[in-house]
Every structure is written in C-alpha cells, then in structure tokens.
C-alpha cells in the first residue's frame, strides 16, 4: 500500500513519510483536460496548416509577397528532386520527403508537405481550411481559456513563474547538467517543475500558443479592418504568416522534446499523472541509515 500525501505542487508534504515512496497531486483537472484536448486540437491545427502551406509554399516578410517577390523560405520541386531554400541561398535537398514524394498509391506528387503529414491526405486547400478554421475556434478557446483559468487559480504564479533564485546562472547551469544526466525531478519529495521546464512551458503558454492564434487572425482581411494594430504588431500580413509558421515549427519542436523527455523521465508515471493527477515521487533521505 502506497502512502498518499495530497498537497498542491510547490508546498512541502504535510506528513512526509520517511524512506517510503509516496505520491503527490501534481496536475489538477483543468490542466489534465486541457492537455489531452490540446493533443487533438493541436494535431489537427498543425496537419491542416501544413496542407494550407502547400497551396503556396513560400514565406515572405512585410505586407505583400507573391511569386515575383523574394521569399525567405521556399519548398519546391525541381526536375531532378526537391529543395528547401532558405534566404534564397541555403539550399537543402529534400527529395522524397518535402517537395517531391510518393503518395500512398506510389504516385509521385510535387507538393511541399507529404500526405502522411497533412489533413486531408490528398491535396485540398478548401478542405484543409474547413478543418483549420473550424478547429481554430476550439484551439483558441482552449488556449485563452486555460491562460485565464491558470491566472485565476494561481497555477501560473505558483507552479510556472520562475523564482529569482531559479534564474541565477549557476542554478540554470546546474539544471542543464542535471538534464544531461537525465535527472529531472526534485529529490525533496515534491514534484516542482524544474527551471528548464518552467521556462519551456512559459515559452509555449505565453509566446507560442497566443502568438500562433494572433498571427493567424492577422492573416484575416476582415480582422485587419477591425483591428489594424495587429498588422503593425507583427510587421504586415506576410510577416504574420511567416511568424505563424515559425511558431508552429516551435510547437512541433516542443512536442518532440516533450515526448522524448516523458519517455526518459519515466513514461508510465508521467502519463499516469497527466491522466489521474497523481505523481509518484521518491524522497531521498539525507543522513538516514
């Protein structure tokens, strides 16, 4: 039988049981609901977004940008293969994956992102927009709803905001070293987020997620008329489109690292805690025999 100590993250256990493994209540219901609904919503947004990108696989800075203008990123097929071209000069061959690939029926296609990464799997800008702009309502509601709720229930201040001590270079460096040694959890019987975790979640929650919603809205000609300041905030419609893509790339990077770290940190305990809320911790006894 496992001893149970229910306490919110960030507080010392009420009755620490020496040398026994115990569990703490780490993720409250709103966090767990948000996490799993976001898995679905974000997956739909990313994959339908890649299909929308396929309709014009070029990115620009500024207000305007079309085929005659200079693109800072372009994914395109060429007779012999395919390339991702950055800043008009860095040329990465991507044949077989991006720009030129074989679909599920073995037929060669010359779109930027391949069928296995897009909704729908066959080229359709109209269908991808239906997915993207409908699920966007769910995604934006989840993002801003969770931000407001987390401010109201003190999740942000208590669990996510770094303390002054945690931001000291020596402390940050120690956490980097701990990560490299695959030590992710505090050893004091609590389940605090470590500082790299806090900074990463902060980047996702306060920059990437709201940023991707706002840059998405900035691509709308109707919202441009209603809220022209958004064009100034992001430096023009094509800049907003580029930032939208960069934020999406950031979220993909986060998801990959997040899943990798869950696997390294103990996938059963981690996934169980995001399902039930309860996280199992081991308290390291100091000086105990």
């Amino acid at each position: 039988m496992m001893a149970t100590v229910a306490h919110p993250v960030g507080h010392e256990p009420v009755t620490p049981l020496r040398s026994l493994p115990h569990r703490v209540y780490r993720h409250r219901l709103p966090t767990r609901l948000w996490h799993w609904s976001n898995v679905v919503a974000l997956l739909v947004m990313l994959t339908s977004g890649l299909m929308i990108f396929n309709a014009h696989p070029r990115l620009y800075w500024g207000d305007h940008g079309a085929n005659a203008d200079r693109a800072w990123l372009e994914i395109g097929p060429t007779p012999g293969g395919a390339h991702l071209v950055l800043f008009g000069s860095v040329d990465v061959p991507t044949g077989g994956v991006l720009g030129r690939w074989k679909d599920a029926n073995g037929v060669e296609q010359t779109r930027a992102f391949p069928y296995w990464a897009t909704i729908p799997s066959g080229y359709s800008l109209a269908a991808a927009r239906r997915w993207h702009l409908s699920v966007a309502w769910i995604f934006a509601t989840l993002t801003f709803g969770y931000l407001l709720l987390s401010a109201a229930n003190r999740h942000i201040r208590r669990d996510l905001l770094p303390t002054r001590g945690e931001l000291k270079p020596s402390y940050l460096w120690q956490d980097v070293k701990d990560h490299l040694r695959l030590r992710f959890h505090p050893t004091d019987g609590t389940a605090h987020y470590n500082i790299l975790q806090k900074l990463t979640y902060g980047l996702v929650l306060f920059v990437l997620l709201p940023g991707i919603v706002l840059t998405g809205l900035t691509m709308s000609p109707a919202f441009n008329a209603a809220w022209p300041w958004m064009l100034d905030l992001f430096g023009g419609r094509q800049s907003a489109r580029s930032l939208h893509f960069i934020f999406a790339t950031g979220l993909v990077g986060f998801i990959l690292i997040h899943v990798l770290l869950v696997i390294l940190a103990g996938p059963i305990n981690e996934i169980r805690s995001m399902l039930t809320g309860w996280f199992h911790v081991h308290r390291v006894e100091e000086g105990a025999a």
Binding site: G65, N67, D69, P120, S134, F223, A225, A226, Q238
Partner: protein, 251 residues
C-alpha cells in the same frame, strides 16, 4: 443541444483527430459538416461583432505597391462573346444591374468611368496565402445600387462573370454589409492604367475585407437577389459550389 448522437459524433471527430488517415473519413460525416457550418457561422458573427460596419481595410502608399501584381485564376477568358468584346476594346460592353431593383440599368464602360470614382491602394490576399498590393480605381458599388434603387427584399448582390471553368460560369456573391461598404468598388483601373485582361478587364469587384476569390473578375451583370438558393449550385459562388470553399472569406 447536446444529443447522444451529437456527442457520439463529436467523440468520433476527436478520436479521428488522433489518426490522420481517419480524418478524411471523419470529414465526410454529417456531424463534421454540422460542426463546420456552425463554426463558419460563428466566424461571420464574431467578425461582424468586432468590426464597425464601415471599418476600412488598410490603405497603403505608392511606395508599398507590389512591383508585379500577380494575376491568378482565369487570365484570358475563352468565351467568344468576351473575346469579341475585348477585340473592340470593350466599346460594346454593357454592365447590367438588375434583379431586385426598382430601376434596372445598363451602363457602358465610358458611362462607368464617368461616374464618381474612388482610388484605393489596398492589399489583395489570395486564399492560397500570397498577397499583392495594387492601386485600384473604380466606381463604388453603393452608388450604383443606390441609383438602381434596391428593393427591400434584396439581401445579396450576385456578380455574374464572363469567364468559365469548364461547364459553369464564374460568379460570386456578397451580402449588403460588404456591398454597401465604402471600399467596395467595381474597378476599371489598376495602378493608373486601364484594368488589364489578366486582372479582370473591363470590370472587376474589389471587396477589400475578403479573400481574393470573392473579387469577381470580368463582371458582366450585377444582380440583387433575396436568396442564393437558385443560383449555380446555391452556395453563392463558383469555388463555393465546386470545391466547398467558404462563402464568407473574411478569414
């Protein structure tokens, strides 16, 4: 209202999201169609809620013009009637304004050019993602509709075009909020010159708060209607009918 079937359908959508291969099947379900239609309605309502009715699209300066204004879609209509009009430099062109109006009108290009004109440097946003900035000159649609006097039953303005994609003619439609907007013009000039054929000569719609496919080119007839049901396949435009693009293209 949450029904068991609706809930099961919604859960189906959620589960399908986990498997990309399942998404194509989910997209074909009636539950997904209801979800799409409702959120589409939400988008229109929300946009209109946060916008002033006459909120203007940003107007740019000459320095912001795209060096090349990209032409897209039909760039040289093949219909014989259009080609003979173009061959005579549109001297025989007539724009019809009819439908639910008290005084149907028929105007030559010279008459259209002699009407009060508006010039605006605006950004054209294609649904594909690219944007081009151009300087448009044309007659405000509101003035034209006022002179024809809309009947109270009129709710949409339909633009019938000279170009076709295979079997069906291009057409588009907007509601009266956008039709009477000060920047909604029937343009006959681009960047200080007569509108080129590739960009919709002799006359194209500019409806600046919506995406490019709403900006009908080669406009031959402006029709006021009470409902879009009887026109084309009833969804309000060529791409709406043929490919399920959204009728409201403000986003």
């Amino acid at each position: 209202m949450i029904t068991r079937r609706g809930l099961v359908g919604s859960l189906g959508i959620g589960a399908g999201g986990l498997l990309l291969s399942g998404c194509d099947r989910v997209a074909a379900t009636p539950a997904f169609r209801r979800f799409v239609d409702r959120t589409d309605g939400l988008t229109i309502d929300f946009t209109r809620l946060v916008s002033k009715r006459d909120a203007l699209a940003r107007e740019y300066s000459m320095a912001d013009l795209s060096p090349v204004f990209r032409a897209n879609g039909t760039q040289a209509p093949a219909a014989p009637e259009y080609r003979s009009l173009a061959a005579a430099n549109f001297a025989d062109y007539r724009l019809r304004v009819d439908g639910l109006v008290r005084h149907p009108r028929s105007l030559s290009l010279a008459q259209l050019r002699s009407l009060p004109a508006r010039t605006q440097i605006t950004r054209h946003d294609c649904v594909e993602g690219w944007s081009a900035i151009g300087r448009w000159t044309g007659t405000p649609l509101a003035g034209l509709l006022n002179s024809a006097q809309l009947l109270p039953a009129a709710r949409f303005i339909v633009f019938h075009c000279a170009d076709d994609y295979g079997a069906s003619k291009y057409y588009e439609s907007i509601d009266l909020v956008d039709a009477l907007h000060p920047q909604t013009i029937l343009a006959w000039g681009l960047n200080g010159r007569a509108l080129p054929i590739a960009n919709g000569a002799p006359l194209r719609l500019r409806v600046e708060r919506q995406l490019g496919y709403k900006h009908a080119k080669y406009v031959m007839r402006v029709e006021a209607v009470a409902s879009l049901a009887g026109i084309g396949a009833g969804k309000g435009g060529y791409w709406e009918d043929s490919n399920d693009y959204a009728w409201y293209a403000g986003i």
